[in-house]
Symmetry: C2
Subunit: 359 residues, 2 copies
Amino acid sequence: MSRLWSDHVVGLTPYLPGEQVKLDNMLKLNTNEHPNGPSPRAIEAIRQAANDDLRLYPPVNSLALRQAIATWLKVEADQVFLGNGSDEILAHVFSALFLRSGRPLLMPDITYSFYTTYSTYYGVPTECIPLASDFSIRVSDYTAQREVPPAGIIFANPNAPTGRALTIVDIEAILQANPDTVVVVDEAYVDFGAQSAVKLVNQYDNLLVIQTFSKSRALAGLRVGFAVAQTGLLEALARVKDSFNSYPMDSLALAGAVASVQDHDYFEQQCQIVINAREQLAKDLIELGFEVLPSKTNFLMVSHANHSASELQQALRVQGILVRHFKQSRIDNYLRITVGSPAQCQRLCDSLKVILGRA
Amino acid sequence: MSRLWSDHVVGLTPYLPGEQVKLDNMLKLNTNEHPNGPSPRAIEAIRQAANDDLRLYPPVNSLALRQAIATWLKVEADQVFLGNGSDEILAHVFSALFLRSGRPLLMPDITYSFYTTYSTYYGVPTECIPLASDFSIRVSDYTAQREVPPAGIIFANPNAPTGRALTIVDIEAILQANPDTVVVVDEAYVDFGAQSAVKLVNQYDNLLVIQTFSKSRALAGLRVGFAVAQTGLLEALARVKDSFNSYPMDSLALAGAVASVQDHDYFEQQCQIVINAREQLAKDLIELGFEVLPSKTNFLMVSHANHSASELQQALRVQGILVRHFKQSRIDNYLRITVGSPAQCQRLCDSLKVILGRA
C-alpha cells in the first residue's frame, strides 16, 4: 500500500502513549493523570460555553486565555503561545526552532520519548547525552563549549520519566553558556514542587518554557498547553502554527482553561494534595523494598532489587492496576507509577504487598 | 531575532483566515459559519461530558466518533480518520501523501488558499492548473496522461471560494485516470447540495475524502474534521499524526460530535434551511445586478458590473456587515458572501440597495 505514501512515512516511529482503557475498577496509574477532577469553575465555564455560539470559529488569537495565563505568570499576553496540548507546541518547536543549518539538538538519553519521535519526523539531527548514573541531568554536559553550537537543547524539568528536577540556577547556567541555542524547558510537571524557568524568560531571549493543563490542572481531556518566551521566538512558532492549523484550540477548551487559571486556590490545594500523597507513597514503597528516585512530579520512578519491573507490571495488571514500564535500556527495570489519591496509593501498596509476598 | 529560527521559517507565508470579530450588531458573513446553532443534542452531550473525567486523557483511538461517522456514511470505523478540524487533516495529508520523489501535486489555481500554504510549508512541488473561464474545474486537465504521474491531486468539491461543484462522474474519471496518484477531495461544503465521493472510497484505494463539522453541522467552535479512505492511505496519516500529537481531539469535541452525527433529522433540516436561503439570496442579488456563480455551498461568489468588490466590501463593513474579498487575480472583483438566515440575507440586501443607490 505504501506505493501511495510519502517517501519518509515508511521510516516513521510514532510515539506510543500509555494505554487508555476504561474498565470497571481498573486503577490507571500509567499516564500521570490527576486523581481528582479539575476546578469546578472550569466545568461550569465549559457548560456555559456549550451553546449556539459553537457555530462560530473560536477567536483566532485566543486572547482571553493568553491574558489569563500572562496575569498568573506575570508576563505579557504576547509572550504566551497556545497549543492543542503541549505535544502540539513541542511539534511546532522542532519545526520552527531546531532546523538550523544541520546544527545538532541536544537532549538527555532518558527524557520524554516523544522528543526522538519529533526529531525523526522533522529530520532534526539529534545528540542524546546520557544522564548521570543517578539519573540526574549533568549540567556541565550542556555548558561545555562546542565547535558547532547546538541549534537547540531540550529537556523536561522535572525530567520524565525519572522525576528528578534541575534548579533554576542550573538552568540559568545552561542558558548563559548557550546564547545562540534555543533552550526549551518542558515543565509539564513543574507545579508539583520544582522551580519554574518562566521567571528567566525576560532575561534570556533563547529560552522557551512549555507547560500543560493536563497534569496539575487535571484537564488532560481538554488538550491545552502553552509556551512562554520572548516574542521573537514565539513569532517563529506562530508562523509554523499558521502554516498548519488556524484554530487548534476549541471554544470549550479556551473557556475551561481560562476558568481553571483564575481559580488559584483550587489549583494550589490540588497540587499540594498530590505532593503529600507522593511523599507518603514514596515512604511506603521504600518500606516495601523499592528504590525510589527523588521526584518533583506526580509520579514515582521505582525499582525493586528482587523483582523485575516487567514481572511487577504484569502482576499489577492482573490485580487491575496499570503502571508504565519503558522497554528502554537503563530504565527497563523501573516502573513509572502515577501518584493517585491516598486511597488509590493504598490499593497499590496493598496489591504490591500481595505480589511481593509481604501481605 | 531570526538568528534563533529554523532556516525555513523566514520563507513561510501563513494562511490568513477571515476576520473573527465580535461586535454588537456586526453581521459576520465572511467565514461561512452556519446561521443557526448545532444540534441541541450535541450541546447537551457536551454539558454531560463536562465533568471530573476531564482529568483523563481522551481515548486515543476515538472509536465512538469514528463508529458514529462510519454508520452514518456506511463505511467501516477503520476507514475514518479524525482531526482537529479538517485543516489539521489537510496538513497531515501534505506530509503523509504528497512528498513522493519530487512528483508534483496538482490543484486548481483558485481553490482553498491554505493548500498553497501547506505546499510551501512541507516543500511539496505544486502545479496550479487554471480553472475554466466560468470558474469550473476542467476535468480533462486532470485526466491527461503525463510523463511523470502526479503524487497528488487536491481540490475542494464544491470548490471554494467559487462554490461550483463537480459531479461524481467527473471525480470518478479523475480517479480512473490516476491510479498511482492520491486524489484528495475536500468536501467541506458538500452537504449543501453536492454529490459526495465517499461512495467511491471502497472502489478506489487512491481516494481520500475530507469533511468537517464546521459548516453544515454548525460546530466550527468545536474543531472536528474527518477523512474517509481505505485503510492503506489512513495508515500513512496515522503514522504522521502519531509523530505529531497523540490526542488532537478533546473529550468534549468527541462527545459533541457523536451526538451531532446521530441527530440525522436536525442535520438534514438545517442543511435544507441554508439551501433555501441560498437560492433566495441568489435571486435577490441577481435582481440587484450581481453576477452570481452557481453554488452548492453555504456561500455565494458574486461580482457587480458597476461596483468594484473592494469598494463594496468596504461599504458593507461601514454598515456592519463583513464579507470576504480575496486579493487574488481573476477573483479580485468578486465577494464571497456567507448565506445567513433569511433575516440576515434580507439585511445584506437592504444594505446593498443603499450602497448601490437602489433603496
